[in-house]
Each structure stands twice: as structure tokens, then as C-alpha cells.
Amino acid sequence: MTKARTILAACLAAALLVAPRPASARRAKPKPVRLVPADDVALSTLFLIGEGSGHPVLLFDPRDRDAVDRFTEDRKSAFSCAVREQTGKATRGLLREITGADCDTVDDLTALAHKLWPAPKAAVVTSTDDYPWLLHAAAFAGATGSALLLVAAPAALSPHSVEGWNLETLYLAAPVATAAPQAGGLAAHVITVEQPDAFTTELRRHLGLTPPSAVVIANPKDRGGIFSPSSLSLLAPLLCATHRAPLFLTDDSAADAIERGASAWMERNGLQPKYVILVGDELALRSHLVPDPVLQAGGPEARGGGTQVRVEIFSQIQREQPQDYAVGRVVAEDAAQASATLARQLHRHRGTAHRRPVVVLSNADQVFSLGETISRATVSELRNVAVPVRAYFRGEVTPEAIQQALQSTDLLIWEGHARDLTLEERGGISTDRTPETVVLQGCYTLDRSDPFILMQHGTEAIVATSAAIYSSSGSAFAHALIDSLVYGHNDLGTAVRDARNYLLALTQLKRNREHAEWNKTYRAALAFALWGDPTLRPDLAAKKPVLAPVKWKLDDGELNLTIPQRPLPASAAGPYYADPVPRAMLGGLVLHETDAEKRRRLKALFFATQPQPTPSTACAPSAAWDVVSLYAPLTRTLSVLARPEWDRMPAAGERGTFSFPLVPQGGTCRDVELHGPPAPG
């Protein structure tokens, strides 16, 4: 009976450790919060992977005592804390003040491992003195539900270390490999891990038929530095545990080196992830620096003095290829703040009774009529799927509206000139709470202090830019992002990828049609990035569309596009208006035709991203269509952007069903001109 209970407990513990945590996980009661000194790598790591998936583990930095209050706001959480003999007096004092009791003092890391993993099937042993190997071992232990044993030296491993455990497998990481002779009897199998790749292989074997959908990349050197020792790599094992993902460590912060190293590692190990999770700031994992394409083409230097665009790692867009992976970057000023962000993500306590409206704040400076027109169409799209929205435009965007928005929504979309939403004019932070997801569609919005302050106060994901962007391209991105979230039901990483690929396709379309300013759109495609876990899903609860949206269907070697009859309510701002059907795309292409009020109409486009096993190109249904195809080979997805010339299909009435034949990538489309425009379906 006792044994059965032990097994049951072990299974439950393993399930807690390895089960993926959906971002929208909700629980009725706040869970107890564990506080651990952030500067104690061994203790932090053990608690993060041993308990972090089950309840919040906050790394505590005595310089930011308020972080605990910010995290526990609205919660009535119970606290506990753990320290070691070497923990400083000041830290102990602050922890006692917060928890109301003395912390547990951990004298023996082995004993702690036995508490955290009462009955593991496997254990991983490594040294406390080798940080990269500690991360590798912890990531593997977290992803497989194995126990983690941290020892000061190989000689410290003894039968006592595993006493009470019935281990099938004991993994010895390279720093303790010399303990292999004495480890022989400690488990049924003892495996010495000489190279980090062996952990990846073992994880793949452990996961069996369910290959990892994500990989985690970090730089252990991020603990160095004087001004920015973010130490975010400390959080990488928790992300590996959450996603059951393998870990790649780089000691080179250059983007090309990271991509080369990680790609070779994925290929060696047969990894085909959908998600790439970067754990590190711009110093640890640098983005590509790409010359500003507008400037390169002889255009003006961007406002704000930027001559380069920081392009996220694994984008491919700077090579004019579609972004393949859904990429997100876990960023904070330090590991303590990042631990709070991840704890919020994993253990969010949110009522289900009342879903808060999305808030859109657009064109506060009243200078972007074209962008505002697209913003208004985005709001109509949200309403079409019954997502509650509060939208503020122009003079409605007051400091009070911004403050109200920060506190009252879970998804905030800012469109317009960059502005610090959280900072008061004379310094100081104007808000206690911030939305879970924030889209900052403006120039250089990732460069400002705001993203870090938003993260510090509760935001889990930010979609923003690293360059100056033009309003119509920026608003087109936001429109495509929302499309992917509410109609495609995608996570944030995929939605950002799709929206960037839409801008890339739009760039190519404009260039093919000899638009002079295609490089402005290209700059926007390069500049957007996601800070946060790419698997996060904003809780929008989109319902069945009120008005039928555009539909794409892959059928017998053809992509069939059905354009419905009824458009969304018209959107207008300044001299522009748009009346697209649901799921049509906009992009700053303006027609010469005008309405009764002599406003200029925005051209509606059609865009889809579909799984497609073989590299393919979509052909135009007729000569009245311009089509751009982007094939992403790693995730095997085909993105298609189609632009109709309705004047050449007057009978179609801007609706109908149109077939886009697929041919192998590089193949030739049949001469559609011979067949003429099709009749509307």
C-alpha cells in the first residue's frame, strides 16, 4: 500500500513537472509563493525546476523588495522562503519581513533534492561549480521529471546521495564523470553525459513519439558584465521543464553564431521545433543588425537616428525569406524580474467570469490618418468575432485613458508615435498594474524603458519594434497579428511570425508592382519582434464571426479563396476609408477611386498561411491577380498573398471563389492570360 502510494505520488509529481502548462491555465486559489535568493544559483535552480511548474518560485533580489508585492497584488498568497548559511543578513532580514517567519535553511543540497523529488525514476548529477553544465543538467532534469543532484565535487557522490530512491537511471554530467566508478551500484543504469548533445538525445528518447515542439536558447555568459548582468540563463531550465524542450547554450552572443550553432545542433539531433524560445537580452543574444533598407535605397535617415534595424534571431526576413519558427524572447532586467514574469505566466490567477475588453489606443498625435483607418478596421475585425473592444482615437487618447487602459485590459494595442505609457513626465511610474499582453506599434518601441517597466508590473508579452516604422505598415502588421490570433486561433509567436511574413509578402508584392516605397514596408517587416514566451495565447475567446470571413481551403492541389459578400462596417479617418470583408488584409495600398465625400479607398488584399508538405508556389487564378508565395521549409508552411484587380473582373463584384493552383517551388505557373478571368463562384 505504501509503495503504491509512493508510486502514485511519484507519478503525480512527474506529471506536474513534465506536463505542459497552457498559458491560459487558471486556478481558483493563489498558490503559495516560494522565495529564493536570486544570487544563489544552486538553490534557485533546484527550486525552479523542482517546484516552479507546480507553484510560483520567485528569485529574490534585495534591491527590489517591491517585486514580491507587485507579484502578489490581489493575491492572498502564503509565503515561504529558503536560504543557505551563506545568505547575507540583509537578504534574510527582508525575507523574514515579507514572509513573517524565518526562512528554511538548506544545509544540504542532496537532502533538498530528496524533498523536491521524493521518488524519481531518474536523477541527474552535476557540479555546482560548472554553470553551463548545471544549466544543461537542470534543463534535462526539468524536461524529463528527473531529480537534480548538485554536488561540490565528484567525490561527494555516494550511496547516501540516492538513499531511499529507486533509480532506473543515473545521469552523470561531464563535470562529475569521474564519479562513474563509484556510481555503478546507485541505479540500474548509469549514463555518463560527456557532451551536452547527449542530453538532447536522451530527451528525444524520453519523449518518444512526441518530439519537442520548442527549443530553448540561452547564453550562460549573461552572468558577467558590470552594467547588465541579467543572468536570465538561470531561467532557461524552467522553460525547458515547462515545454519539455531541449536546451542549447551559446557562448557567443552574435546572431549569426547563435543561428549557426543552434541550427547545426537541431540538425544533428533531428529536432524540428515550431517554437524557438530565446532566454536572454540584447547583450546575451544579439539580434542581427541589418542596414536600414530605406536608407540603403537612398531614402532619408529615419527619425530617431537609426541607420540599422535590429532583426530578431531566426527571422530569415533579412534574407528575404519567410520567418519559419515562431520566435519569442524572454527578457527582463534581471533573473529576479524574469522569474516573476514566468511565475505569472505559469500560475496566473484570473477570474473566468468577466473577460476584460481589448483596448486599442490609436493615433494619439492625430497625424496618421492612413494608419488609423487600418486600426479602425482591426477594431471591426475584433467586434466581428464578438471580442469586446474599447477603442480610443486621436484626442480620446488622454493620459487618463492610458492609465485606465493599463489597469483594465489584458490586451492593449498602442498604435502611433512611441510614448512611454508607464512613465510620468517628471519620472516615476504611473501604474501598479499592466496588461498581460501589450502591442506597441510605433517607432523603436523596444528601445525604450517602457517594455521593461511593463514586464516588471505584470506584462508577460510585448510585441514591439526596433526601428522607425511608417504608420500604414505598422497598422497593417497589427491588423495581420489580430487576424492570426482571432481567426487563426494562433499563439503569439505564430501570430507575430505570420504578421511579419504578411509584411514581407506585401513588400515583394509592392516591389513586383514597382511601387517606389516598398522598402518602407520591408523595414517594418524586419523591425517587429516578440518579447515573451511564443506559446502564450492572449485570452480573447473569439466566437463565431458575425459576418462570414474570407476563407482559404487547400483542395486537390489548389488553394481556393472564397471572398464573402458582406463587408465590415466602413472605417474612415482623414482622407481615407476602408470597407474590407472580414479577414481581408490592408496595407497602405490606396486606390484612386473615392467615395461621395472624396475619401480615398484602401485596397483590400488576401493572405493565408497554410501547412504544405512540399515546397510550393501558388499561381494566380487569372491575369487579374498578383500573387506572392512564401514557403517556409522548416515548418513546411506556405504563405500566399493575393491582390485582385477588380477592374479586370467587373462581373465578380469583388466576391466569389477563386482557385490558386499550386506548383512545385521554382516551377512555372500556366499562362493564365490564355484562360481569362474566371466567373465568380
Binding site: G225, S228, T307, E424
Partner: protein, 300 residues
């Protein structure tokens, strides 16, 4: 005696005990320069409604003493705001069209006498210093660009046995950012382009210091010897040993600023602002007084 008989004089009020300009005594040993400073302010575009004009006044410090405030406000009601950090004059009333007003005072100033001590980061700042460590829209001290710059250019200068953080940041700023009259003025624009006007250089330097946890504030003032109409100058003040010390990234000065620099505002507060009218502009005129009799601060 008030110099202009029809002017509203606050000099009398000051002498009567208002603390604003009641200055500490300047050190007798150091050379003191005395100047008369006159602001000619033009308010325009008022629509007949109430207006409010705010003009920054110098604060008296260890190195500058201000006396004899005098003004012609021409129908606007003056109020002296004796905020210790940001003293200013508020002029209120109703106005239609344009109006000129003038404000003048005497400044006695001398160079900083003491050498700037070692400037260290503050790990546990007191409440009154927090404002000078936190970011603001002007001082984007939590930007990734700021930390990237410091890590890339200042950190390598800290390898010695006694690294001096403030000087390393000052050197990195001056080496990497070029002063250009057509340069940028906003911090992040300066870091991206590496070209800055003097105001941009000081803002950026102040921001770098805040990021490094050194309390810092930017000062805007006038150089009474300048021949330009605004005579604007900028520098930074850093906190150490319970007082502020002047340092200028745009001039390359540590401590000894010219005695002709008069501090007017801090942390981006404008010297002149107006509400209720389209705009307010000003011209500053100065006159060396060392050969002239001192303006009295006492009532007649």
C-alpha cells in the same frame, strides 16, 4: 532701492525674509563675479482668457547667490514660488494679443572650489534621491540601448585596481558621441546616431549615470558671457558626499564650471513656459557689475 519705480518688486519681499533668494554667503577667498541678468519675455497669441506664465529663477547655491529681483509685469499678477529645487516666478492674468514683460536680478557667482570626489553608485538610495535614479521620458535609463552602450564602451574602462565608474562613463560618452550642432537632442536618438547637440549629450550622460545607479540630474542655465540671445548652457550634477557636483560631458569639465554659468532649471524643466497663449519667447541680456554699485536687496 527698486530700480524701476513702476515695477512690481519682489526684492523687498526677499529682503523681508522669503527663503528663495536668501543665499548662503559665498566664500570670501574665491573670486566672485557679479552680473545683472535681464529676461525680456514676449507673450503672444493670447485670446483674452486667463494666461499663466512660468519663468525659472536661479536657486542660490554654494557657488551662486541671487539678489534684487525686479520686474515689469504690465498687468499680470506675479507670484514667487519658493520651491527649493525649482524656484520660479508665476505671472497670471487675462490677456489678449501680445505683451512684453521683463524680469531682472543680480547674480554673484564663483567657481566650484572643491575637487569632485570619487562618485560611487548608491545601492540603497534615500527617498529624496530616488527621483534622480529613476527613468523618465527624457532620461530613458532603463532602455536596453543604454545598458548596451555602457557594457560595450564604459565597462572595458573599469579594469584597473581602482576603477572610477563616473569617469569611465564620462570618457565613454565623450569618445563615442560626437558633438554636432545639427545632432540629436533626445537620449535614444543620440545613442543610435552618436551625434548630439550639447543638450543631447548632457541628457545622455545623465541617463547613463542613472542607469549605473549614480544619482544625476541635468542642469539648464545661462552663460552670462555668451552673446547668443538665450545664452543656454547645459551640464550634469552628480551626487556624492551629501551634495551635488557639476560635471559636463558636453564641455569635458569635472567640477570647475566657469563662474559665468548660472543654473536655472533641472531635469528638463523649461526656463519659460506659458498656458493660455500660443507662445512665449525670451531674450536674455546680461551686464557685468563688478565696476557698478551693487543693487540693494533691502527695502528703501
Amino acid at each position: 532701492m527698486c530700480r524701476r519705480s513702476r515695477a512690481v518688486s519682489i526684492g523687498c519681499l526677499i529682503a523681508a525674509g522669503l527663503p528663495l533668494l536668501a543665499a548662503p554667503t559665498l566664500a570670501a577667498a574665491a573670486k566672485v563675479q557679479r552680473w545683472e541678468v535681464s529676461f525680456a519675455v514676449r507673450i503672444s497669441g493670447a485670446n483674452g482668457g486667463p494666461i499663466s506664465v512660468r519663468l525659472a529663477l536661479p536657486v542660490s547655491t554654494d557657488t551662486q547667490r541671487v539678489t534684487g529681483l525686479d520686474m515689469q509685469t504690465r498687468g499680470l499678477t506675479p507670484r514667487l514660488v519658493t520651491d527649493a529645487a525649482n524656484p520660479h516666478l508665476l505671472l497670471r492674468g487675462k490677456l489678449k494679443g501680445s505683451r512684453r514683460i521683463s524680469v531682472s536680478y543680480e547674480v554673484a557667482s564663483q567657481r566650484e572650489r572643491d575637487a569632485v570626489p570619487r562618485i560611487e553608485p548608491i545601492q540603497s538610495p534615500t527617498a529624496n534621491l530616488l527621483a534622480y535614479l529613476t527613468p523618465s521620458p527624457i532620461f530613458q535609463s532603463r532602455s536596453i540601448l543604454v545598458r548596451d552602450f555602457l557594457e560595450t564602451y564604459a565597462a572595458p574602462k573599469l579594469g584597473g585596481t581602482e576603477p572610477h565608474l563616473m569617469r569611465a562613463i564620462l570618457e565613454a560618452t565623450r569618445e563615442q558621441i560626437v558633438h554636432r550642432s545639427d545632432g540629436k537632442s533626445l537620449v535614444l536618438d543620440v545613442i543610435r546616431s552618436r551625434r548630439a547637440q550639447r543638450i543631447g549629450l548632457e541628457r545622455t550622460f545623465t541617463t547613463f549615470l542613472r542607469c549605473a545607479r549614480i544619482p544625476a540630474r541635468m542642469v539648464e542655465g545661462i552663460d552670462v558671457k555668451h552673446t547668443t540671445k538665450h545664452k543656454r548652457v547645459f551640464w550634469t550634477e552628480v551626487w556624492a558626499q551629501n551634495r551635488w557636483w557639476p560635471v559636463s560631458a558636453s564641455r569635458g569639465l569635472v567640477g570647475k564650471l566657469p563662474a559665468t554659468y548660472v543654473a536655472l532649471t533641472r531635469d528638463g524643466e523649461p526656463i519659460l513656459s506659458v498656458e493660455g497663449a500660443e507662445k512665449a519667447t525670451y531674450v536674455v541680456e546680461t551686464r557685468h557689475l563688478d565696476d557698478a554699485p551693487a543693487r540693494t536687496a533691502a527695502p528703501p
